[in-house]
C-alpha cells in the first residue's frame, strides 16, 4: 500500500474543496486534494446555467466557467490533486489523521495529514424522503440526476414532465427540459411560497407559461412500467384535500425536494452532527468536534450560492493552517439560534477574531430586523429588506462591535429575526 504524507488533506474538489486548497497552498503548507470523480469542480460542471461568480469573480459565469477559474488556481499552486480517488475510511483520533483511499492509479492509498478539511458536498433527497405513495415505475428522477443526464451525458429523460419542488434546481431544470424540447406541465410546491429565487420563477417558469401550484403535493404516482400520471392534491390548512385533487399525465417526474450533506465519512470519524443542518457542529474556526478535522461548504450546511461556499471554504483553509501553527482561539462563546432562526453556522464565536455568521430564517417577512443579544442584552441590530426560509442570510460581527461587549466565560450570543 502506497503511503503519502501532507500537512493538510482536503476531501472533495467541488467549489468548497478547490477554494480551501488554494487558500491552504498560499501559506507554505503541503496539501492533498482528493476527488472521487475523474474531473475537478464537482456538481458545478453540470450546472451549465449562468448566475455563478458575481461575488467571487465579480462577473456572471456559468457553473463550468466558475469551476474552470478555481481549477486554474489549483493547478497553478503546489496542491497535489488525486482524481478518481475515493476516501472510504478516515481515522482521525490521533494527531496524525489517516485516510484510506481507493484509486485505479494507485490501488489502495493511505494519506496521512495533521489536519483534514471535509468538503464532500451534499446529495439529493429522493422519493423515499418525501414518502410519495403509488407504484414504483421508471421515469422518476431527482432533478440533479436529470441535469447530469441532459447536460453531461446527452440523454433526455422524458418528454412530458412534472416537477416536484420549486427549489432552484427544479426551476432551472424546468427551463432546461423546455429548451431540449420537452413539455413541462407543472411545478408542484408543498409550501405556500416558492422555495427558489424569484428571478428563477420569472425566467424559468413565467417565460414558458409553466404553472406553479403552491400549497400542493403529488399524492400518488401511477404507471406500470413507466410513470403515466401523477395525482396532484391541494392542501387546505396543511391537510390534503383529496376531493379537489386532479391528475396530470406525464412520462417523467423530477424531484427537487432538498439536499442532505453527505456525512457518512465524517460520522465514522466521530464527528458530531448538528440535527438542524445534518452537517457537522463546528466551532468559531470551522473545526468539528474532532480535533484537527474541519468542515465547510455543502457538507457543513446546504448553501444557496457556490460563491458563499467558496468564501466559507477559504476561511476554513485559513483556520486549518492556523491550527497547524497552534494558533487557536483563546476563548469562544456559544451562539444560539433565537426566535425565528432555524440554525446558525458556526455555533461558536471567537470574540478576539469575530467573523461571518450564516443563518436561515424560519419566517417570510419584508423589512425584517436581525437582533443580536449577548446574555439577553441587545448588542447589535441589522435591517434586512426581505427574509424567507429558502434564502440563506449572513451577518458579519466586527471587532468594533465586540469591543463594547461585556463578555463572560459562559456568555451566550443569541441571534433572532423579527
Amino acid at each position: 500500500m502506497k503511503e503519502l504524507h501532507y500537512d493538510v488533506l482536503i476531501i472533495g474538489a467541488g467549489a468548497g474543496g478547490l477554494a480551501a486548497a488554494v487558500e491552504v497552498s498560499k501559506h507554505d503548507t503541503s496539501c492533498a486534494l482528493v476527488e472521487r470523480e475523474s474531473h475537478l469542480g464537482g456538481i458545478l460542471v453540470q450546472c451549465i446555467h449562468n448566475g455563478f461568480g458575481l461575488e467571487e469573480f465579480k462577473e456572471e459565469l456559468t457553473g463550468p466557467e466558475f469551476a474552470d477559474r478555481q481549477v486554474q488556481q489549483v493547478l497553478a499552486s503546489n496542491v497535489d490533486v488525486y482524481t478518481d480517488t475515493t476516501v472510504t475510511q478516515l481515522d482521525a483520533d490521533g494527531d496524525l489523521k489517516e485516510a484510506y483511499c481507493f484509486s485505479p492509479a494507485y490501488g489502495v492509498l493511505k494519506i496521512t495529514a495533521h489536519a483534514v478539511i471535509l468538503a464532500m458536498g451534499c446529495r439529493e433527497r429522493n422519493r423515499g424522503n418525501i414518502r410519495t405513495p403509488g407504484t414504483r415505475p421508471a421515469g422518476v428522477y431527482t432533478a440533479g440526476l436529470a441535469q447530469r443526464l441532459v447536460n453531461i451525458e446527452g440523454y433526455i429523460p422524458g418528454k412530458d414532465v412534472v416537477i416536484v419542488g420549486s427549489g432552484d434546481i427544479g426551476l432551472i431544470m424546468a427551463r432546461r427540459m423546455t429548451w431540449v424540447g420537452a413539455k413541462v406541465h407543472a411545478v408542484i410546491e408543498i409550501q405556500p411560497y416558492p422555495s427558489g429565487l424569484t428571478r428563477n420563477i420569472v425566467q424559468c417558469l413565467n417565460d414558458f407559461d409553466i404553472p406553479l401550484y403552491l400549497s400542493h403535493v403529488v399524492s400518488r404516482i401511477e404507471g406500470k412500467d413507466r410513470i403515466e400520471k401523477v395525482r396532484v392534491c391541494p392542501l387546505a390548512n396543511g391537510i390534503p384535500d383529496e376531493d379537489n385533487s386532479f391528475d396530470i399525465p406525464c412520462d417523467t417526474l423530477l424531484l427537487s425536494v432538498g439536499l442532505v450533506p453527505e456525512n457518512e465519512l465524517s460520522k465514522e470519524a466521530g464527528v458530531q452532527i448538528n440535527p438542524q443542518t445534518n452537517g457537522a457542529l463546528v466551532d468559531a474556526t470551522m473545526m468539528t468536534s474532532v480535533d484537527g478535522v474541519f468542515s465547510c461548504g455543502n457538507v457543513l450546511h446546504v448553501h444557496d450560492l457556490a460563491d458563499w461556499v467558496a468564501e466559507e471554504a477559504r476561511r476554513t483553509g485559513r483556520y486549518a493552517v492556523a491550527y497547524l501553527r497552534d494558533e487557536r482561539p483563546k476563548r469562544q462563546i456559544r451562539i444560539k439560534a433565537g426566535a425565528n432562526v432555524r440554525y446558525i453556522n458556526p455555533t461558536m464565536l471567537d470574540p478576539d477574531n469575530p467573523d461571518k455568521l450564516y443563518f436561515r430564517s424560519l419566517i417570510v417577512k419584508n423589512q425584517a430586523k436581525l437582533h443580536l443579544k449577548l446574555d439577553h442584552n441587545p448588542v447589535k441590530e441589522v435591517k434586512i429588506s426581505h427574509v424567507q426560509p429558502s434564502e440563506m442570510l449572513h451577518v458579519k460581527v466586527k471587532p468594533k462591535d465586540v469591543a463594547s461587549w461585556n463578555i463572560m466565560k459562559d456568555s451566550v450570543l443569541e441571534v433572532s429575526v423579527e
Binding site: 451549465i48 449562468n50 453531461i152 429548451w179 429565487l197 424569484t198 420569472v202
Partner: protein, 126 residues
C-alpha cells in the same frame, strides 16, 4: 401619475432581490418605473417592455470520448424571439476538440451582435 393604472407589472431579475416593478406611461409616451430599489430596475423594465432579452445556456455535440456534450452560452443577453432558433443552431452543431473556454462558436447570431461561446475547455486528449 400615481393615480394612473400601471400599463404592466413585472418582477426584476437583475439580482436575487426580485423587486416588484410597476410601469407607467405619460401623455408623451414616456415610460416611468416604480418599485425598483436600484437603477438596474429601470434599465431592466425598459428592456423587458420594449425588447425582452435573456442569456441562453445549453450544450452542443462534442466529438469527444469522455464528454459527449460541450456546455455553451451566449456572451450577452439575446432578444427573446431569437432564442429558439439559437438553441436549434447549437443542437445542430458538432464541435471538435480542442476548444478553449470562451471560444466563439457562432459569431453575431442573426445580426444581433450576440455570440455563442464555449463555456468549458475541451483539450486535445479528449
Amino acid at each position: 401619475m400615481s393615480r394612473q393604472e400601471p400599463i404592466q407589472e413585472m418582477i426584476c431579475i437583475s439580482c436575487p432581490l426580485g423587486c416588484h416593478l410597476s410601469l407607467y406611461k405619460n401623455d408623451k409616451d414616456e415610460l416611468s418605473v416604480t418599485g425598483n430599489k436600484c437603477a438596474r430596475g429601470i434599465v431592466y423594465a425598459e428592456e423587458e417592455f420594449y425588447a425582452p432579452k435573456r442569456i441562453v445556456t445549453c450544450t452542443c455535440r462534442a466529438e469527444s470520448r469522455i464528454l459527449p456534450r460541450l456546455p455553451v452560452r451566449t456572451n450577452a443577453s439575446l432578444p427573446k424571439e431569437h432564442i429558439n432558433d439559437l438553441i436549434k443552431a447549437a443542437y445542430a452543431m458538432t464541435v471538435k476538440p480542442p476548444v478553449a473556454c470562451g471560444q466563439v462558436l457562432i459569431e453575431d447570431f442573426k445580426g444581433t451582435g450576440v455570440n455563442l461561446i464555449a463555456s468549458m475547455s475541451l483539450g486535445d486528449g479528449h
